[in-house]
Amino acid sequence: MTRWTVVCRYDDLIPERGVAALVDGEAVAVFRTHDGVLHALSNTDPFSEASVLSRGIVGDRDGAPTVASPIYKQRFDLRTGTCLDDPDVAVARYPVRVTDGIVEVGGA
């Protein structure tokens, strides 16, 4: 059964800007895209091992919503976690939902 951790109010999320949350001791990056959809990925940038993905710039490439790591700028698909610049690399995805205006991320 999924355990859900409270992140923040949905309205507190700035569109196209991530936040980081602590979920069972792990750092998770949560993004709200311009169309209102939420995405959650591991906050750890696999290329630098720094916990920073939530601080990257959100945008799109060929229509896919992306975040660019702020360290070396590789872009990741927000929906799948796959690195678009190096398809062998991916970051973990987390389930995310809104309940009564509150954003929650599911742990393993």
Binding site: V7, E16, V19, A21, A50, S51, V52, R55, I57
Partner: protein
């Protein structure tokens, strides 16, 4: 295979190698080049720019990489045996030839006045000559009192004025002695010469026209130059530039005919009477006439290459048009400048107030343009020269009156010659464009236009535009515009958000390329705090947290220390803050102090302390002004001539917070010793005895480049205005992540065009640029201070939204030389990124 021996590896000899390698598709020729000089062929025309860098490599011409070519540097040809068809080299080698081309250039003419060989007398032809002049000028710095240091240039032609300019850059007061009654007698007429003289004198050059040099004597460790008429000039050195003499000795010794005034006599094929011996460039006298310019030499090289490859080319006679900017003054002369054609009429426009002199020489019916002289403003040169020999589209007077019709590249007749170096007509360019040439580089490679002296490049651009050819300068997949175009759009429409801009002018949702670029444009145009509203989501993480992201996800903090000057009290505050938060401290390369290892949630508390102590953001995180470095200047330094610290602080405070396409750095040195390294900066200021020299376009980093002189000896007020204009012009027109060095390099017309815009206000935008800068200065507020006053913005400074007080467990430090550094500091970075995100990621 047959052997071509070329004696001489100057500009023209080298062009011959290039041209033959290209035309000799049958691989019939091997080429042996015998070169007297030790260096690879270089751009002698640009010799004076050696004074900017003292790096001769910047002059080197591109080498020809081909197995057929053997280059023997430092081994000149000393004799020709025409019967045996061999040449002998200084090293004693004998080389057999099937064809021999003499390309030995010319030597400066030194008039045989008494004392011409004294130490301190120089010529101006090769980098070595400039090295010797520089050494003499440096010697004068130590031995002659400031204000009395001077140099005398004998000869007031093109080269003499260039030499005078170089002396001025070396800190000497130049005198120019010219026998003729005016400067540049070959190119300009009396009216133009008078105006030119006024300009040159305003720049601190003393001109002695109609004077002969009678003698040079030594006098108390210096030199004394005696002129006809009794004038005596005390000086530290003398430079002769009284003309050139073709180096035709090899031909004379071999019994070949020389011209009446010297030069290897050749026919229109550039061949001597000996069918195996040819001559090109300054050493050649084509049908008896020598040419002291490179374009005719290049044409001769092309003729010989064509002939050797089996063609029938002949030398068409050459255009001796010239356009130059001497000491900041435009001078151009083209075609029959002196009106020597029968019945020629002259149309003159002379305005001493605005400093413009223009003369057109036209045929007796006033319909055909024959030539002209322009002084003060030569912007019409390109189009006028192209019209020589053709029927004028307009009344000649209208073409040169200041309000006159701008010549339109679209109306150039097909026969008009646009590039005289390669005889390329407007018609040929139009054909190339129809065949698919889309930009200047493409036109250069298919027609060769623009690859000689380069003076036609601005016209090439106009011709492209006249044919409606636009180039892709798209920023990224979301915008088809360049950064400069987006800047204009935002500025003209007043659009204030990224969303509106992309909806109206782009597609998709943006990315890490266009978002920060637009953020920077909005900030440059005074869009409010960079973290206001939607703008916050556009910023790179550095700008978002107003600090520099480090490898382990922590940040570094750099407060501004204007000019590098800091009080002990402020130093102590930095020490206390760093100690309290366990920050690693280091003195940066920019004369300030960096504190590393702060977590996001610590940034506001750290900055509260710093702001309370009077610090403000140093913008080390932004594409913005970084530092204005300074040396100690007159306050302390025994050599200082101006107060460099006050100037550096003034400039740093003026331009702080200015958002730009890339970071901006500056420096101010208090004298020519240049301890602040100003010439490695985007804009550098060096004190002179009477004011300031402004250098622009310097760069350290990945491709170092020395800044080049934009204006000299200006007062503080003018200095600041020129910098205002320069910076705002850069902010408006540069590409994303293009430092000023790359921006100037990519600019059509380069530094000269920049100078026209910034100094001469050729685009009429100087007032606008200054007003924009005034707006920036008035609107400046400290970004950090503004964040500390704003609860909403402060709320974003947390590691975790759902645990605001929890530090990131991922961040760990270890001790190194008594300070903390990230765990894994010894791992090195994984993918290596050089010079920012525009370069690709290289994984080991």
């Amino acid at each position: 295979m047959r052997t071509l021996v070329i004696a001489g590896h100057g500009m023209v000899g080298h062009r011959l190698v290039e041209a033959l390698v290209e035309r000799d598709t049958q691989q019939q020729w091997r080429i042996v080049v015998l070169a007297e000089e030790q260096r690879h062929a270089y751009d002698r025309v640009a010799l004076s720019s050696y004074v900017d860098s003292w790096d001769a490599d910047t002059l080197t011409l591109p080498s020809v990489d081909d197995d057929r070519v053997e280059l023997r540097l430092g081994d000149p040809c000393v004799a020709i045996d025409r019967d045996a068809r061999t040449v002998r080299t200084a090293a004693g080698d004998v080389v057999a030839y099937d064809a021999l081309v003499l390309a030995t250039g010319s030597a400066p003419f030194v008039p045989p006045v008494p004392g011409h060989g004294l130490p301190g007398c120089h010529v101006y032809r090769a980098p070595e000559d400039l090295d010797a002049i520089r050494e003499a000028a440096q010697h004068a710095m130590h031995t002659t009192a400031a204000g009395r240091r001077s140099g005398v240039v004998v000869g007031g032609g093109l080269l003499g004025l260039e030499a005078a300019h170089a002396l001025r850059q070396l800190g000497l007061s130049p005198h120019v002695v010219e026998m003729a009654p005016r400067l540049m007698p070959v190119q300009v007429d009396e009216g133009g010469g008078a105006l030119l003289r006024r300009f040159v004198e305003q720049l601190g050059v003393t001109v002695h026209c109609g004077a002969a040099t009678d003698a040079i004597e030594t006098d108390r460790g210096r030199l004394l130059v005696r002129l006809s008429g009794g004038t005596e000039l005390d000086t530290d050195l003398v430079v002769f530039s009284a003309g050139i003499r073709p180096r035709d000795q090899l031909a004379r010794d071999a019994g070949l005919r020389v011209g009446d005034r010297g030069g290897v006599h050749v026919d229109a094929r550039c061949r001597t009477a000996d069918e195996h011996v040819w001559a090109v460039g300054e050493c050649a006298a084509v049908d008896g006439r020598c040419y002291g310019l490179v374009a005719p030499g290049y044409a001769m090289a092309e003729v010989v290459a064509d002939r050797l490859a089996g063609g029938q080319a002949t030398f068409p006679g050459a255009d001796t048009s010239t356009k130059l900017k001497l000491l900041g003054v435009d001078v151009a002369s083209f075609g029959d400048a002196h009106g020597q054609t029968d019945g020629a009429l002259e149309v003159v426009h002379n305005d001493p107030v605005t400093g413009r002199y223009a003369k057109l020489v036209v045929s007796d019916d006033a319909r055909t343009l024959l030539g002209g002289v322009l002084v003060g403003d030569a912007s019409a040169y390109g189009s006028l020269r192209a019209l020589v020999g053709t029927e004028l589209p307009d009344d000649p007077g209208a073409l040169i009156s200041p309000s006159g019709a701008e010549l339109d590249a679209a109306t150039l007749p097909d026969a008009a010659q646009v590039c005289s170096c390669y005889a390329v007509t407007a018609g040929a360019l139009g054909q190339a464009i129809t065949d698919g040439a889309e930009d200047v580089p493409a036109l250069k490679s298919c027609t060769k236009a623009g690859t000689g002296c380069g003076s036609c490049v601005p016209t090439l651009k106009k011709v492209l535009a006249a044919h409606g050819v636009a180039q892709s300068t798209a920023l990224c997949e979301h915008f088809e515009h360049s950064r400069a175009e987006l800047f204009e759009i935002v500025s003209a429409t007043g659009i204030g958000t990224f969303t509106e801009l992309i909806e109206r002018y782009g597609q998709g949702r943006g990315c890490d390329i266009c978002k920060p670029a637009v953020a920077s444009i909005l900030a440059s145009l005074g869009g409010g705090h960079i973290l206001d509203g939607e703008q916050a989501a556009l910023q790179d993480t550095n700008d978002h947290f107003l600090a520099n992201l480090q490898r382990n996800g922590t940040y570094s903090v750099i407060p501004r220390v204007p000019g590098g000057e800091i009080t002990p009290d402020k130093l102590m505050v930095i020490g206390e803050v760093a100690k309290e938060y366990g920050l690693y401290t280091k003195i940066t390369g920019g004369q300030r102090i960096d504190m590393f290892g702060a977590r996001v949630e610590q940034l506001p508390v750290i900055w509260r302390r710093l702001v309370d102590a009077g610090f403000e953001s140093g913008h080390a995180y932004g594409k913005a002004l970084r530092t204005v470095k300074s040396c100690v200047g007159t306050d302390w330094c025994r050599y200082g001539v101006q107060d460099s610290v006050t100037m550096a602080i003034k400039l740093e405070l003026r331009y702080r917070g200015l958002r730009s396409p890339h970071k901006l750095k500056s420096g101010v040195s208090g004298c020519a010793r240049e301890c602040a390294e100003a010439r490695s900066k985007d804009f550098g200021v060096i004190a002179t005895e009477t004011g300031w020299n402004l250098y622009v376009g310097g760069n350290g980093g990945f491709s170092p480049r020395h800044a080049e002189l934009l204006v000299s000896d200006v007062d503080t007020d003018m200095l600041v205005r020129y910098i205002d204009r320069f910076l705002m012009f850069y902010v408006r027109t540069a590409d994303r992540l293009q430092r000023t060095a790359a921006w100037i390099e990519a600019m059509e017309g380069g530094l000269e065009h920049l100078r026209e815009v910034v100094v001469d206000d050729s685009l009429g935008i100087a007032d606008d640029l200054e007003a924009a800068m005034a707006g920036h200065v008035a609107g400046y507020t400290d970004e950090w201070n503004a964040v500390l006053d704003d609860e909403d913005k402060l709320a974003r400074f947390t590691s975790f939204v759902n645990a605001p007080d929890a530090p990131d467990p991922n961040i760990e430090f270890v001790d190194r030389r008594g300070q903390q550094v990230p765990v894994g500091y010894d791992r090195g970075s994984q993918p290596v990124m050089l010079a920012g995100p525009e370069l690709e990621v290289v994984t080991r």
